[in-house]
């Protein structure tokens, strides 16, 4: 009997995985532990080791197609075996298969307990309304309930479906108009949203929908810091073969400021504010296929050199697609840097359930009055997005000011 190989479940929250590359073709012999495919999910790409030895008999899920964990992706067995008659897998079997497949991947324990991972409010909805909404692909959070205590009724869903189709038809109309205007002038590529893009899309949308986020901006005068960074970088290069960057200093300043303003090092989950004693610092890294956020765990225990090392190590692993999903979980605050692209201030989107994210811009030489005298100074734009549900503008501003003070008086970071 041919053996089913299923999409592994990488972490509890995984809903979909994509085979990005099949490394074997139908008819190839695969030994146990050999990499048969690359699986893409939840911001990571991992190599999928074959759970058994055998010949690849049939590929069920083609490259690029997203499927839920537990779905059969291919069959392995003896070359003379036939696949079929076994196409339907009983739930029990599936569970076993899933377990077997999971042996070859790292079983990841989420750092934040599962009960605080979900940030969705409970929705009052009647059973039939829920089914109809699901069938129509409607987000129940977007439906206005008119039943008791805002319960969503069948009628509400029917209205939402009617509204959806009318808006669809109007957008179809718009599209038609566009096509008429652009006939044969422009070509449109339609790219199915899957894998990491899909994860980012849903997380970003969730973030904007489920928090009260706003952005404060401030400018830090990093003239002295730039000088210091250059001096220290030379030493570091010689002694540790590490290039110290401005980002490393910003990370250090953030870690110190988070320890002083603990309310910013927190998460809002299910009507509770979870304030963390540790700082797990997320550092956003842009990859061609999308954004990933590797996490420096217990950053509060890291020296500047440690931080610098880890930032570079994780960023490197991210670029090579080698990050494990455990290396991208549990951050308590995130830093995102668009300075390399010449961006000044911007409005970062919270990495939920975190309370804050700091956007770092590009350093610019700027004329600044020092007393009556105009000086050339290096100015770093900082953009702090925070969740107003957790804290108010004044404490958030104090947090940002503390970062600014550290950056403007860099020696304070070593005291």
């Amino acid at each position: 009997m041919a053996t089913e190989v299923v999409m592994p479940k990488l972490g509890l929250s995984m809903k979909e995985g994509t085979v990005s590359v099949w490394n074997k073709r139908v008819g190839d012999f695969v030994s146990k532990g050999e990499i048969i495919a690359n699986i893409n999910s939840e911001k990571i790409e991992m190599e999928y080791e074959s759970p058994i030895e055998g010949t690849l008999l049939e590929i069920i899920v083609p490259e690029g197609q997203g499927v839920s964990p537990g779905t059969v992706i291919c069959y392995l067995g003896n070359p003379d075996e036939k696949v079929g008659g076994n196409a339907k897998t009983s739930p029990n079997l599936l569970a076993q298969k899933e377990e077997a497949a999971a042996v070859s991947v790292v079983e990841v324990e989420p750092v934040i307990p599962s009960n605080i991972q979900s940030n969705k409010r409970e929705i009052k909805i009647s059973p039939i309304a829920r089914k109809m909404a699901e069938a129509a692909g409607l987000d129940t959070e977007m439906i206005q309930g008119t039943g008791p205590q805002g319960r969503i009724t069948k009628e509400d869903v029917e209205q939402a479906i009617a509204g959806q189709s009318s808006s669809e038809s109007s957008s179809k109309l718009e599209e038609e108009m566009k096509q008429r205007v652009n006939q044969d002038v422009e070509q449109v590529d339609r790219i199915p949203v899957s894998g990491i893009r899909k994860v980012i899309a849903s997380r970003m949308q969730d973030s904007l929908r489920h928090s009260a986020q706003l952005t404060l901006t401030m400018k830090a005068d990093v003239t002295d810091l730039v000088v210091l960074q250059k001096q220290m970088s030379e030493v570091a290069q010689k002694q540790y073969e590490v290039k110290l960057t401005l980002t490393d200093f910003v990370a250090r300043a953030v870690v110190l400021s988070l320890q002083k303003h603990k309310s910013m090092n927190s998460a809002y989950v299910e009507d509770q504010i979870h304030v963390f004693g540790h700082v797990h610092l997320g550092m956003a890294v842009a990859l061609d296929k999308g954004l990933v956020v590797p996490v420096i765990r217990h950053a509060q225990n890291c020296s500047l050199m440690d931080l610098s090392n880890k930032i570079k190590l994780l960023a490197g692993r991210a670029r090579q697609g080698q990050l494990g999903s455990e290396e991208m979980q549990g951050s308590t605050f995130t830093i995102t840097n668009l300075g390399a692209y010449g961006i000044e201030h911007f409005t970062p989107v919270l990495n939920l359930p975190e309370t804050g994210i700091l956007g770092v811009g590009t350093v610019q030489d700027t004329p600044v009055y020092k007393g009556e005298e105009l000086q050339k100074r290096s100015i770093l734009p900082l953009s702090l997005t925070f969740d107003h549900r957790v804290l108010d503008g004044a404490p958030a501003a104090e947090f940002l000011r503390t970062i600014k003070q550290h950056l403007e008086e860099p020696f304070s970071m070593f005291l």
Binding site: S126, P127, I128, K131, M132, A135, K154
Partner: protein
Amino acid sequence: MTALTVIGGGPAGYVAAIIAAQRGKQVTLIEQKDLGGICLNEGCMPTKSLLESAEMFEKVKHVEQFGIQIPVNEIGISWSGVQGYKNGIVKKLVQGIGYLMKKNKIKVIKGKASFLDAHRIQVDGAGKQEMVEADQVIIASGSGPVSLPFAPFDGEWVIHSGQVMSLPSIPSSLLIVGGGVIGCEFASIYSRMGTKVTMVEMADQLLPGEDADMAAVLHKELEKANVQIYTSTSLKNLNAKEKKAVFENKDGLHEQRADYVLVSIGRKPRITEIGLEKIGVLFSKQGIQVNEHMQTNIPHIYACGDIVGGIQLAHVAFHEGTIAASHACGQDVKVNYRAVPRCIYTSPEIAGVGMTEKQAREHYGDIRVGEFPFAANGKALILNEQIGKVKVIVEPQFNEIIGISIVGPRATELIGQGTVMLHAEMTVDVMENFIAAHPTLSEAIHEALLSTVGHAVHS
């Protein structure tokens, strides 16, 4: 404090009055007869008392089946006793409403109400006239029986439902014109009291609003009780002198003598004699026009209950009265007719909620129907009432429960469960693991529900 006047003290009116008073309105209620309206005085309540007497008589006649020995040939009916029991109940309930009016500080004026203009109502009481001014008005003047064009009610021979329940003695024969809910209920009452009952119905079945298979169960039981039923038959003539009726069907003309003729062919809204035309409220023969808040085209005037047509049931009137009064008090509420139970107090009882099977087939095309007979229910066996069944109707795409019909013992009480299911918009999967108490009649509902998806246990 704003003054709100309610016209009519029936289920819609008295509930509206209480709700408005509780929300701080200064409420006046005008009623020309007794508080409680048709429901309490000539409808729901007294008929149920008569039915209970008839049912009790039937039970006692068969009490030996339960191992109880009584001299069966000595039992009989005291008609004055039956009437006394009924009148006692009505009196208590009417007093109860009077007490509720006092408790809620509602001023009750006895008399006939008629609009002078949109804010002033004249009340003609016994020997005196009064004028009531109101900021808001709720019209709940109810309905009256529809009469035959060629034979109006005379109160002697051609009678309506209000009169048939208080006859001086048990008639030896009764002709019932109209096989709807009221006709069937009186057929059940009087046939078991020993009256020879004949029914004439124009449609091809009794209870034309219900599914044919449910009505057929009642039809058979009525025939067992010696009721002669003519369906697809129309009344041609009533001769009061000879107390003779003539009706016609495909077999030709029939003549039938009867002590009384009960005409129960429907009820019509009481739209006349209250001065509606003077104030410009929009209305037709079907009743006063209202929006989903029970508001008429004149914003400060509401209407509810049988006067707006639609479903003429006391519990719908309660709901509409509540909505009208709540909205008049500034609450943004609207009526919801999704789960209105229909109760028919015959023997056996029939009850339904949501769509009938026929309606569901017309609406959805393909549907799932689950049935469970009371013959397979242990509690029904113990009660010695094994006639009838439960029918659950499920829509095919999501398995939404869209209708439940019951014919059989305690159907009118059992339908409460179905009403909850429809009100909460339940689907079969949600109800599948529901625990039904054992041994109860209500197990039949759960079994019927399971059989819509092929999971019934005891059938």
